[in-house]
Subunit: 147 residues, 2 copies
DNA sequence: ACCTTCTGGTTGTACGGTCGAACCATGTCC
DNA sequence: GGACATGGTTCGACCGTACAACCAGAAGGT
């Protein structure tokens, strides 16, 4: 099948993506694909917080694309694990600022390490000269999905 | 961070993939990304059955990467919607052979159509000069996963 | 033949992530 | 200052999934 024909057959893309999602275990969101006893959403939250240092809860909601109620509970779980601190936002009396505790930073690093191993294997299966293109393509798709 | 550094960092891949999964709404498995009142797993099951015509239940379990109990219930739901028929396997007294009913075939076609539209819109949001690259990147990833 | 083990399916139970709605407090705008 | 919008929390419900127990049929060895 030629390249142009494939571009006109979006179902093939869905097929491939569906297989990918299942192969990665993403259909079971309560365990991370890396085998850690932590949910996918929690892992993403940890990752965002580690990267940003501080994050407004509403911003986390936006990035995770969840309802605010869900994020509230999610943060509550992370907090009761001792991984996240909530502080009142200095510039907005309604807001909450989230930050990782030292224990949370350790957890995030451990998680990142497990993730790194898992994805190293996947990345290793991608020819080196294709890697940048794959990453760029995923960025492009996310951007497209936001419109 | 330069492009090459990023390309060799598995965390970047995870980042990109995580964003994509969330942007696509896959973190909410009880509604299909196409906005249909049908779960992602049901959609996949329908798709597999449409493609294969007939499928042993155990084979569906394998393809969907679910537990057999989950698939049993899943099939029960599709059956009570009148979309799937169960018949005893001719060569194995334990087995169950699944097949789409006419209504199920219609549902599968409708679903495929909705999916097509969704992906067409997605493709439409991707700058034309990026499309070939994105399609190619997806191919590469699927290939990498099959190893 | 018989016993054991494996395999495909079903049912019961529990868990957990997500949403929507109701509600409160605070910010914003006319 | 009143109306509306925004950030968070809590409550209730839904649903997909796993695990375990169980049953029935197949497979293989003695």
């Amino acid at each position: 099948m030629s390249r142009d024909q494939r571009a006109d057959d979006p179902a093939a893309l869905q097929e491939a993506l569906g297989s990918f999602v299942r192969a990665f275990g993403l259909h079971q969101p309560e365990t991370t694909p890396c085998g850690r006893p932590i949910s996918v959403s929690e892992a993403h939250a940890l990752s965002e917080l580690e990267q940003e240092g501080e994050l407004r809860q509403v911003e986390l909601t936006r990035r995770l694309r969840l309802q605010k109620s869900t994020v509230s509970r999610l943060v509550g779980q992370l907090s009761s694990r001792g991984w996240v601190e909530r502080a009142p936002a200095p510039d907005d009396g309604r807001g909450v600022v989230l930050r990782l505790t030292p224990a949370g930073q350790r957890a995030a690093r451990n998680l990142a390490e497990a993730r790194r191993e898992r994805f190293s294997r996947l990345l290793g299966s991608i020819p080196a000269h294709e890697r940048a293109g794959v990453l760029h393509a995923l960025d492009v798709m996310v951007e497209a999905l936001d419109e």
